[in-house]
């Protein structure tokens, strides 16, 4: 059990460093699309939402899960579409 936790913490910390490294010298015009794009990525919590909504126990927990799927999917679909629209604007100019 501790091995799992330590493994997860390792992955977490390494990904934090990758996150720091990935964003370097972003031009100000890309601030909003980048914010919006990473916002869409944070909708990854939809994975957890699907697992709880489809849980074999069902009941209150699964209903909470279904609500979570709705919220997370609005975040994902809305986030990617909004970002795409923003970036399309840049191309035209």
């Amino acid at each position: 059990k501790t091995a799992i936790l330590v493994g997860s913490l390792t992955v977490f910390l390494l990904a934090v460093f990758v996150g720091f490294e990935v964003i370097t010298k972003v031009p100000p015009t890309l601030h909003t699309p980048l914010m919006s794009g990473s916002n869409a990525i944070s909708g990854i919590t939809v994975v957890g939402a699907i697992l709880t909504a489809g849980h074999s126990l069902g009941g209150f927990g699964a209903i909470l899960g279904m609500l979570a799927v709705v919220l997370a999917m609005v975040n994902v679909v809305g986030g990617f579409l909004v970002t795409h629209r923003m970036l399309k604007m840049f191309k035209k100019r």
Binding site: F17, I23, L34, S38, I41, I44, V46, L67, V74
Partner: protein
């Protein structure tokens, strides 16, 4: 992490697509390609989860997926280009809310959770709820709703916020040690109540002009909430994507502050002249 090898590899592929996408998105020439790559990563993760043998019933999932996608597409396609920042704020609020709900759902569904999972549930609820209310206030300020126009703060606001955060941590401790069942649910709801007040208090004092920075910071929080949820359900895709967004969000917030010639501390505690070390 549990699951079959193909499933775990799919999550790994999805994480790599997120990293690649984000990297490309930070350069003007490859930005459009970047967002496509990142959305592929999301598609891979969702399809993999749908094929997970743990999933026992699809009714709730399908309803949730259809309603959420339709609503998201409608919002994204109908919003004016000038209202994009507040739309990001609104979407971000929903992401935070989703993390809060997943952690709660997991609390109701899984028996015999270990102390570290319960702490992750508590953190997920705390960060998710702060993100939810904080982003909603940011949205309201950017939409220029009259009631939210004026910065609002109580005397000694940073001290109050600090006390609220401490209280939330105490409730997380309660959650981690409570007996399974109502004791856990009660502790979790208490965390949500305190986190809601804290989320409101964090953003209400900040003026409308600084809102883009706040939305960026809240975005970073929603990533961390997702990572905390990853610890709850023991899933690397959530941990990687969440911490990626969390960390890049902090950097992006700092870059934005510099571009606007503001310091982050100034934005967060702008009202407290000289009290920048508080909170």
């Amino acid at each position: 992490m549990t699951g079959s090898a193909p499933l775990l590899l799919a999550y790994l592929a999805s994480s790599l697509l997120f990293i690649l996408g984000l990297k490309q998105m930070s350069h003007p020439r490859s930005a459009v390609r970047g967002i496509v790559i990142a959305s592929m990563g999301m598609l891979v993760a969702i399809v993999a989860t749908l094929l997970d043998p743990q999933v026992a019933g699809y009714t709730y999932i399908v309803v949730g997926l259809i309603v959420g996608s339709a609503l998201g597409a409608y919002l994204a396609l109908s919003v004016e280009m000038t209202s994009m920042p507040q739309m990001v704020g609104l979407l971000n609020a929903l992401g935070g809310g989703a993390s809060t709900l997943v952690a709660w759902a997991d609390l109701e569904l899984s028996q015999n959770q270990t102390v570290d999972t319960l702490i992750a549930v508590g953190l997920s609820g705390l960060i998710g709820t702060v993100t939810f209310w904080g982003s909603l206030v940011a949205y309201a300020k950017l939409e220029e709703f009259k009631k939210f126009k004026k910065p609002f703060s109580l005397p000694m606001q940073p001290v109050i916020n600090g006390a609220l955060l401490l209280l939330a941590l105490v409730f997380i401790g309660m959650l981690a040690t409570a007996d399974a069942g109502t004791g856990q649910t009660t502790s979790y709801v208490l965390i949500l109540v305190v986190a809601s007040v804290l989320g409101l208090f964090l953003v209400l004092p900040i003026g409308g002009a600084d809102m883009p920075v706040v939305v960026s910071l809240m975005n970073s929080y929603s990533g961390l909430a997702g990572a905390a949820t990853g610890f709850v359900i023991d899933n690397n895709a959530l941990i990687i994507a969440g911490s990626l967004v969390g960390a890049s969000g902090v950097i992006l917030t700092q870059i934005m502050c510099k571009a606007m010639n503001r310091s982050l501390v100034n934005v967060l505690f702008g009202k407290m002249a000289g009290g920048s070390s508080g909170g």
